[in-house]
């Protein structure tokens, strides 16, 4: 396998409702910043791939306008996944492995504020038997939270602790949307949104964009002082029907983590794409992270959750700490679908 690394990362500040900028205007400064920081000229970048969703934009081909703005002249080698940008990054990693490109620009954007996002994602469900019942995303997450609490012996207090810690850590993240200092008691005094989940157990609705530049081998070493090398990357799907899965565990994360080599050496930190508090605990178990491993020092998806972007941000946040010299080995995770149906795990390493 070729050695491939993250050499730059940029993201927009996540906001509840971006009213002044459309998707493209939100994305452009981010792409420009990521390319500028990469030390590569735009024309040198051999592959471009993005992640976005037409259903968030409310119209078909939402990636087309973005591509126009990012720039495709002279014509470029380009692809798009209708998924979180983390999966676009996976496609870029594969492309670099074929040897057909030595560097890649990966970007993602999403405005969740344009519609009722909890209802929009209901359209991801089985269109014949489940979607017509319109179970919203929070209700499905609550089912999973209940299953997890009953199976694990954990309590709502444990969930509240995740929320409190995430928003506290987010105070140091200028790109975060929600941050603040609250006590667990304070959070637990709130009413349920959908039992056993309270408002603080749920992610904010966010608009945002992010971009990453990948480079292989000597190109990465040339342009970046401390590249964040991809030590392993893998992703796995689970069955769609909720009744076919053990919602209290994430088998797909466990398998992807094993294949990506999470357990091969000590982990300094993890950025887990856990939009709901209980999901962080499920993912932590699945990846067998030691209790001392800091999770989501950025505040995670509980502090900013732009759909189609939040997974790519996890990889960017983990990589950034390696590029800054603050960590030697980090784990990043991205998820897609209801109740953690599909999961990607990426191990990032410094010092090669």
């Amino acid at each position: 396998m070729r050695q491939v690394a993250v050499v730059s990362f940029a993201q927009s500040r996540s906001v509840r409702r971006e009213t002044d900028l459309n998707e493209v205007e939100m994305l452009m400064p981010v792409v420009q910043e990521a390319v500028a920081r990469s030390g590569l000229q735009k024309r040198e970048i051999g592959f471009t791939v993005s992640g976005s969703s037409d259903y968030l934009a409310g119209g078909p081909f939402s990636f087309v306008g973005a591509l126009d703005a990012v720039g495709a002249w002279p014509p470029i080698v380009e692809s798009h996944v209708e998924m979180d940008g983390a999966f676009a990054l996976y496609e870029a990693w594969v492309k670099l492995q074929t040897g057909e490109a030595d560097s890649a620009l990966v970007y993602a954007f999403g405005k969740s504020s344009l519609g009722d996002v909890a209802e929009i994602v209901t359209l991801q469900l089985d269109p014949y038997y489940v979607a017509p019942l319109w179970p919203d995303a929070v209700s499905l997450a609550a089912l999973q939270a209940r299953a997890f609490l009953e199976a694990s012996g954990k309590t709502e207090r444990d969930l509240a602790a995740v929320a409190v810690r995430s928003r506290r850590d987010a105070r140091k993240n200028p790109m975060a949307q929600l941050s603040g200092e609250r006590s667990v008691e304070d959070v637990l005094a709130e009413p349920y949104l959908v039992a056993p989940l309270r408002r603080h157990d749920c992610p904010p609705i966010s608009d945002g964009a992010a971009a990453i530049v990948l480079a292989a081998d000597d190109v990465a070493r040339r342009v970046c002082r401390r590249p964040a090398w991809i030590g392993g990357i893998d992703h796995r799907m689970e069955p769609h029907a909720l009744g076919l899965r053990d919602l209290a565990r994430s088998r797909s994360t466990a398998e992807a983590g094993e294949r990506a080599g999470v357990g091969r050496a000590a982990v300094d930190l993890a950025e887990l794409h856990a939009p709901f508090t209980h999901q962080e605990l499920i993912l932590r178990d699945a990846l067998r992270l030691d209790d001392h491993v800091p999770v989501n020092p950025s505040g995670g998806a509980l502090a900013a959750n732009p759909l189609m972007v939040a997974g790519l941000i996890r990889i960017g946040e983990a990589a950034r700490r390696i590029m800054d010299g603050d960590a030697k080995r980090a784990v990043a995770h991205a998820t897609s679908g209801p109740c953690l149906q599909q999961n990607l795990v990426c191990v990032l390493e410094g010092g090669r």
Partner: protein, 385 residues
């Protein structure tokens, strides 16, 4: 670094206006089951799945790979979902091939489909978006002016489009999967059909189809375990250019020319017309055959129409194009590109039945999308590259 990759299994549905007899799952499985039977593989043999389709709004299911996971036995496997507009079928095949070329997987299932009857593609294509140019024309209205520009540039005879449609519809009669089949098709019938978007007549345009196409790709090692002949991938290429850019020539787009040039270079082809035996080219409106013949370098600029008029692109011609009947005969949009790729593979595997091109050993599959700004192509051969 780059491993060999082959097509070892191909499956298509019967394409039709409304496949009311099957769900989305059922439609997809009809193609997948046939592809897996062709490759003689079971679910355990599949390492990863790549799903491709055009906008989710065509069916109303968001990110449908999540729902399709159960029907595709995707539990425990990596699944990617590609969406690159009309070229998506081709792009999906190329992304899947890269998983094998990179040495990540041994066998990848490629799944593409569209069930257009679930929605209204015309509507889904023309949503008025804030701050964006409204097209409000559908695909035919978008491409008709480009065709008129082509006719003005090339001086092509006015009936070139009719002749393409006649050839593709006659070829389509030989293909059991074809959506449209007019047993009594004739030159007059097409010429007399209503003008939809001048110069595109009703019978010169593609249908809206329900349909799916699946392909099993294998590494060199894995390919040995499939009994049928393999179609070896000699090269793949993708190119995109901007939609709204004053400097682009959207009649003969540079992205298409660049894509073909890279494809030929990677496949070691110097004279595509001589070195290839046939091509499956994305022709949703008849006139796009001569236009793409020029864009792909099979004919000099302004001369593509001669290939049609001289019968070169006919099934018994010197360089058959769309022996399968092409997009004019079946157009499940998300699958149409992969169908082109798969039909090229069928030809070099010698398995194209009633529309087999004699002695086909090397063939091109071509797909394009958007307003002619996205391109995906591959070349497959009966011999290893």
């Amino acid at each position: 670094m780059s491993q060999r990759c082959a097509v070892v299994g191909i499956g298509q549905t019967k394409h039709d206006t409304m496949r009311v007899d099957v769900s989305l799952n059922g439609l997809v499985r009809e193609a997948v089951d046939r592809a897996m039977a062709d490759a003689d593989v079971g679910w355990r043999d599949i390492d990863a799945i790549v799903v491709g389709k055009a906008p989710d709004m065509f069916e109303g299911t968001m990110m449908p790979e999540l729902y399709l996971a159960d029907a595709l036995a995707a539990g425990g496997k990596p699944v990617l979902r590609v969406h690159t507009a009309g070229s998506v079928g081709g792009s999906t095949g190329i992304v899947a091939a890269s998983l094998i070329k990179a040495g990540v997987h041994e066998r990848v299932l490629v799944v593409t489909y569209e069930k257009q009857s679930e929605g209204n593609a015309m509507w889904a294509l023309t949503v008025r978006m804030p701050f964006q140019q409204a097209i409000v024309a559908g695909a035919g209205g978008y491409f008709a002016p480009l065709i008129r520009a082509y006719i003005a540039r090339s001086g092509a005879p006015a009936d070139t489009g009719i002749r393409v449609a006649l050839k593709d519809r006659q070829n389509g009669l030989r293909n059991p999967h074809s959506h449209l089949a007019f047993p009594d098709i004739s030159y007059e019938m097409i010429a007399d059909s209503p003008m939809l978007w001048d110069p595109i007549r009703y019978l010169e345009t593609c249908p809206s189809s329900d349909g799916a196409c699946a392909v099993v790709l294998a590494s060199e090692t894995a390919a040995r375990r499939s009994p049928g002949p393999a179609a070896w991938i000699h090269a793949t290429a993708m190119r995109s250019e901007p939609t709204m850019f004053a400097g682009r020539d959207d009649v003969n787009p540079r992205a298409g020319r660049d894509c073909a040039a890279e494809l030929y270079r990677r496949a070691g082809i110097t004279d595509p017309r001589r070195d290839l035996d046939c091509a499956e080219v994305y022709v949703p409106f008849s006139w796009y055959e001569p236009m793409w013949m020029e864009n792909l370098g099979f004919a000099p600029e302004g001369q593509g129409w001669r290939m049609t008029q001289d019968g070169v692109t006919a099934l018994d011609g010197d360089f058959p194009v769309n022996a399968s009947g092409g997009v004019l005969s079946s157009n499940p949009i998300g699958a149409s590109g992969l169908i082109r790729f798969a039909e090229a593979a069928l030809q070099v595997r010698g398995k194209a039945g009633a529309y087999q091109v004699d002695g086909a050993r090397k063939a091109m599959g071509h797909a394009y999308g958007g307003g002619s700004q996205f391109f995906a192509m591959w070349i497959v051969g009966s011999e290893k590259p």
